[in-house]
């Protein structure tokens, strides 16, 4: 029997995990936002990359710095920082993504009081040679900043080792998605969600071991997919709401893919180990499917979604839009239209701080499944 206990234990209190890790290793913990943070470099520096996902309590202190029209991620994270709930961090990395994160970085730098603060100014377009060169140059800049913080030189060999760990982690995470797609009753989406959340805060070597063990335990289970369930692809903003998976499962759906930066986008794209390390990390970002705050081509995200539906034999798409999240909100209409052209049904859930009331979301979810 495969056990997910460890992952749940970590995500129930990721801060405690990081504090213990720090005690055991004596190394630094670096908080980061978004999947454009070069985790490989942080790991190579011997530090723990710790993804700041969402706030853990109600908002009071952050209100003095952020207007009500900023998204819940930005407000929640600032609240945690100001309340001392992230005191174990030695510093934070802000890759440039959306306007809200851009200003959060300033407010954070001016108020949160961490000694290390890095703005990794990721290019906004990921489709030109000059952007690729620039990306490599800022990764190098970031590497030097980390070296200054830790006082340790990040040797090329260390980077290569970190890259290979990440490549293996990503291969295993993608394996989990494949198992779920082919046999949805072997691993539940809520469990996968827990694993991903844990994966972004855990010691990465330990994570790799645990993933390998887990996949071995899941076995080559080739039970036929439950055909009665509707196969769903999720799309949109970061969905750190585990309840949604249960709701979908309860209403007769099963999640087979997503385009989340906390999901498929996290593991897609292998880093080429034959190229210079920093260049190869940059290349992966340039090639991977983009976040809506970045530009690759006019239709890249829509095409990706349509393909995800087809390749995973899905019946429909559920969009999640986090309130006040501009990049996703701008993409939604054209992506929906591209789905319509292919006769793929979709439904939109808007999320404020919390999911809409359980009753409401159940009803809408059930209605959607029936329609499929």
């Amino acid at each position: 029997m495969a056990s997910f206990d460890l992952f749940y234990e970590i995500i129930n209190n990721p801060g405690r995990y990081a504090i213990n890790w720090k005690k055991e290793t004596g190394n630094k913990v670096i908080g980061y936002f978004c999947s454009y943070a070069p985790e490989e470099i942080i790991t190579a520096a011997g530090a723990l990359p710790y993804r700041i996902l969402a706030g853990s309590g109600s908002i009071s202190k952050a209100d003095a710095h952020l207007q009500a029209y900023s998204c819940s991620l930005v407000r929640g994270a600032l609240e945690d920082a100001l309340n001392g709930r992230l005191d174990f961090l030695d510093g934070t990395v802000f890759p440039h993504t959306c306007d809200s994160i851009q200003r959060l970085s300033d407010i954070w730098r001016m108020n949160a009081g961490f000694k290390f603060h890095a703005d990794v100014m990721v290019p906004v377009k990921l489709n030109t040679a000059s952007a690729g060169d620039y990306m490599t140059s800022i990764l190098d800049k970031f590497k030097k900043e980390l070296e200054k913080l830790t006082g340790i030189e990040i040797a090329r060999e260390k980077l290569k080792e970190a890259i290979s760990i990440y490549n293996s982690i990503k291969k295993n995470l993608s394996r989990l998605y494949a198992i779920r797609r082919d046999a949805p009753d072997v691993i539940k989406s809520s469990d996968i969600h827990a694993i991903f959340k844990a994966a972004m805060v855990m010691d990465r070597r330990r994570l790799l071991e645990e993933l390998e063990r887990l996949i071995a335990d899941l076995g080559e289970n080739d039970r036929a997919p439950d055909t009665a369930d509707k196969r769903i692809v999720l799309s949109g903003g970061l969905c750190s709401m585990p309840d949604i998976y249960k709701t979908i499962e309860k209403s007769g759906g099963v999640v087979v893919w997503d385009d989340f930066c906390t999901g498929s986008r996290y593991f897609e794209g292998e880093i080429n180990t034959k190229v210079e390390p920093l260049r190869s990390i940059a290349d992966r970002y340039m090639e991977r499917v983009v976040c809506p705050a970045k530009h690759k081509s006019l239709f890249s995200r829509g095409e990706y979604l349509v393909n995800a539906v087809k390749e995973n034999r899905a019946d429909g798409v559920i969009f999640f839009l986090l309130k006040f999240c501009d990049p996703h909100a701008f993409d939604y209409p054209y992506m929906k239209e591209m789905l319509e052209k292919e006769n793929i049904p979709s439904v939109l859930f808007e999320i404020e701080d919390q999911l809409p009331s359980e009753g409401q979301i159940n009803t809408r979810c059930e209605a959607f499944m029936e329609m499929l």
Partner: protein
Amino acid sequence: MSDPNKAIDPEVERRKIKSVKRMKEIMTEYYIEAKTPKEQTGKKIAWITSGGPVEPLIVMDVIPVYPENYGAMIGASKMGTDLCEKAESMGYASDLCSYARADIASATVNGGPIGGLPEPDMLICCNNICGTVLKWYEVQARYFNVPLFILDTPVCHTEYSAEIKQYVEKQVTEYIEFLEGVCGKKFDYDKMVEVGELSVRGQELWQEVLDTTMNRPSPMTCFDAFFHLALIVTLRGTQPVVDYYEMLLAEMKQRIKDGISMVTDEKYRLLWDNLPIWYRTRWLSDKFAAHGACLVADTYTSGWCSSLKYMDKTDFLGSLAEGYTRIFLNTGTDQMADNILEMAKKYNADGLVIHSNRSCKPYSLGQYDIQKIVQEKMHIPTLVIEADMIDERIFAESQIETRIDAFIEMLE
């Protein structure tokens, strides 16, 4: 408030800025040319963001069109809410920038005060003002099916790094190659020198116009600046801009000589932060004037000369990257606060009015910190008005009125 039946008040007439008429003419001519069928003008049209480098377009004889300027016109004509609602019915969330919403909707229905903008042959998007413009121009590039050039100017949170410099400079070359491709002709570097000089000259003159408000009493207010801004935004790099601002500057100097102030009995001098509330400029201007409060300067209109210090008139193309990357909106919140502190000193401000503009996150998030810094360092009262630049649904009149009154009391 003006009443059409009232007899002309000579005092009011005396205060009116006479150059306004010429300004309206220039803008009308500009839009007439832009809307003339391309077969007649033989010119291509580019849509460009307000902070984008327009000068190379002028060199290529391309007509630049600014959806944001049109957004302001839509707002001032009180047509913003309708168009925003239309965009929402197309699936765009109501929290998105109202300029973007209005423009996306307007393109599909030829909406707004001049019945829509002329169709673009290309789109030029420079993200030195926000990330919204990237998404917005992607939408339009899909809709019009025309090439999109993105000039990526990374935010200078704390520095204009060597990496950023190299990247943006490379893109300036790519921009010119792009224009040569779309226009099918070579770029004229000699003409660039001329256009560059005119651009810098225009910006210098605009700064001089804005600086006339250092005089007490001030010959104009920021509400006038909001209006006269249109030229430096849309026609930067051309002779008419230089000529016009010379004329406006002369008029302002004359007003100072003649002791003509814009606000009767100027008692308080205030700063404005963020975009105007276009559908309420008149209301706000009257409201403040009634208390003898003159909004002498603002961060928005001075934004178009905020990087003069990085521009080199003798090597415009060489300094373009730095000048366009280091505009104030593309810097850190602490630098934006410094900018306001400097302005407060320069213009002798007694208070700061902050428009917390729900449309514009890069401009508005961080304002609370700026407010705190200004209060601590300058000990002047501050007022936050929660609104939106063109979506009237956000404007709570009576609440705002009460807050303005309370703010004025603090000034006393």
